[in-house]
């Protein structure tokens, strides 16, 4: 049977992708950020799953205002990098896992989540930047990736509680899939940032730190946080953080924090990153206690 082995959260700032693609990771501005992901990349090499369910939002790339699905799952065989206005990122085409994706779609719909099924879709920086941060620049991504797009562009996005419950439903779906697969769930976006208006540039380290702490130890309280608090405390685009709760919902109640990193700034944004394993999961050699 398939199983969820770990959850990862990671910001998906487009400028990070541009720095990687243009060979600028060694610049003074970027070096501390990329240094912060070295240990995570090493962890990933030891824990590469068969499939990543990558929870992200599309930024007006695959979805215009023609259609705005709240939750959409990519069931295609593959997903090409999108042209977001300056040409597609020079990264590998994402290979999906259509059988598992279709199974998750069916299972979550019967579990009362009205999931949109997407059979053709390009994927933007929201999906590819976390892959680059965790895997570097391989010729092909080392695992399959199922894109799970959440609307956080047009308000209201789904509530934190709904996102967490979707994570639970995804876990039930994965654990009922009859193939021996290691599956990770990634939640992306955030942390504090505001990209629009005179208040652009807002960063709230205190909020972000508390969010990370509660994500690990008190997700039940975190899911009750209303949208207005995200926006007031951490900026209008910080609402992306609800996607981290999908990841958290897919894990056990008790988790082990394997790694945490926080850095300000990447362009306009506070970058947050965490790796969580289920507390009952066996420790791999070299893992921190």
């Amino acid at each position: 049977m398939a199983r969820i082995t770990a959850g990862i959260a990671c910001s998906h700032v487009p400028a990070i992708g541009a720095a990687i693609d243009n060979g600028r990771t060694g610049d003074d501005y970027w070096r501390p950020l990329f240094a912060g992901f070295e240990a995570s990349k090493a962890w990933m090499r030891e824990h590469t799953p068969d499939v990543v369910i990558l929870v992200y939002n599309d930024h007006a790339s695959a979805f215009s205002l023609d259609m705005i699905p709240t939750f959409a799952i990519g069931c295609a065989e593959s997903f090409a990098p999108a042209d977001e206005g300056w040409g597609p990122r020079p990264v590998p085409v994402v290979q999906g896992h259509a059988d598992l994706a279709c199974h998750i779609a069916q299972s979550t719909i019967l579990d009362e989540f009205d999931m949109t099924v997407v059979n053709r879709m390009d994927v933007d920086h929201g999906l590819t930047v976390p892959l680059s941060l965790m895997f570097g620049q391989p010729e092909a991504w080392p695992c399959r990736v199922i894109p799970l797009a959440v609307n956080v562009v047009q308000y209201p996005p789904p509530t934190g509680r709904r996102c967490f419950a979707l994570g639970r439903a995804i876990r039930r779906a994965v654990e009922s899939f009859d193939e021996d697969l290691d599956v990770q769930v990634w939640g992306t976006g955030g942390m504090s940032h505001q990209l629009q208006g005179p208040r652009a540039g807002l960063i709230n380290r205190e909020f972000d730190t508390a969010f990370l702490d509660r994500l690990v130890g008190d997700p039940a309280a975190l899911v009750a946080l209303p949208h207005i608090e995200y926006v007031r405390e951490a900026g209008s685009e910080a609402i992306e953080l609800v996607m981290w709760l999908v990841m958290r919902g897919a894990l056990d109640e008790r988790v082990r924090e394997v790694r945490r990193f926080y850095h300000v700034p990447a362009s306009n944004t506070a970058v947050g990153h965490i790796i969580l394993e289920n507390d009952g999961a066996p420790r791999a050699a070299g893992d921190q206690p």
């Binding site: 790339s61 990209l195 208040r199």
Partner: protein
């Protein structure tokens, strides 16, 4: 539902892109969306007014685009992820657009971000002045 939307209006310097704004800015945002294709970017650069005439924008929206007045475009229903495609077509980074919207020079904005960003203190609530 009304309370949900009204609550956001108390946050200074922020426009929430809800269904109402989305309706208002539909054609403006779809124009931005068209700039994802290289041939459209070229056509827009060659003659901005002529290219904009292909879309049923209001005069206010058209003028805001030509003036690259991003705060105005947002007030008229633009969403920042869509509007960023105009910036990309112009060859500007997202940080450049952000600095424009705050009225700061790009240099001053960049320095603010390097120093930890804009503090939430004094930026939370218009009514409470906090």
């Amino acid at each position: 539902m009304k309370d949900y939307n009204d609550a956001f209006r108390d946050i200074p310097g922020t426009t929430i892109f809800d269904a109402m704004q989305s309706r208002r800015g539909f054609h403006l945002n779809q124009f931005c969306m068209s700039l994802m294709k290289p041939e459209n970017r070229a056509a827009f650069k060659a003659d901005e007014a002529a290219y904009l005439a292909r879309f049923p924008l209001t005069d206010e929206q058209r003028e805001a685009v030509l003036a690259r007045d991003y705060n105005r475009m947002i007030a008229l229903g633009g969403n920042i992820y869509f509007l960023a495609k105009i910036g990309a077509t112009d060859g500007f980074s997202f940080q450049n657009l952000a600095s424009k919207m705050t009225g700061m020079s790009e240099e001053a904005y960049r320095e603010m971000m390097l120093a930890g960003g804009r503090s939430p203190e004094g930026n939370r609530s218009v009514s409470k002045g906090s």
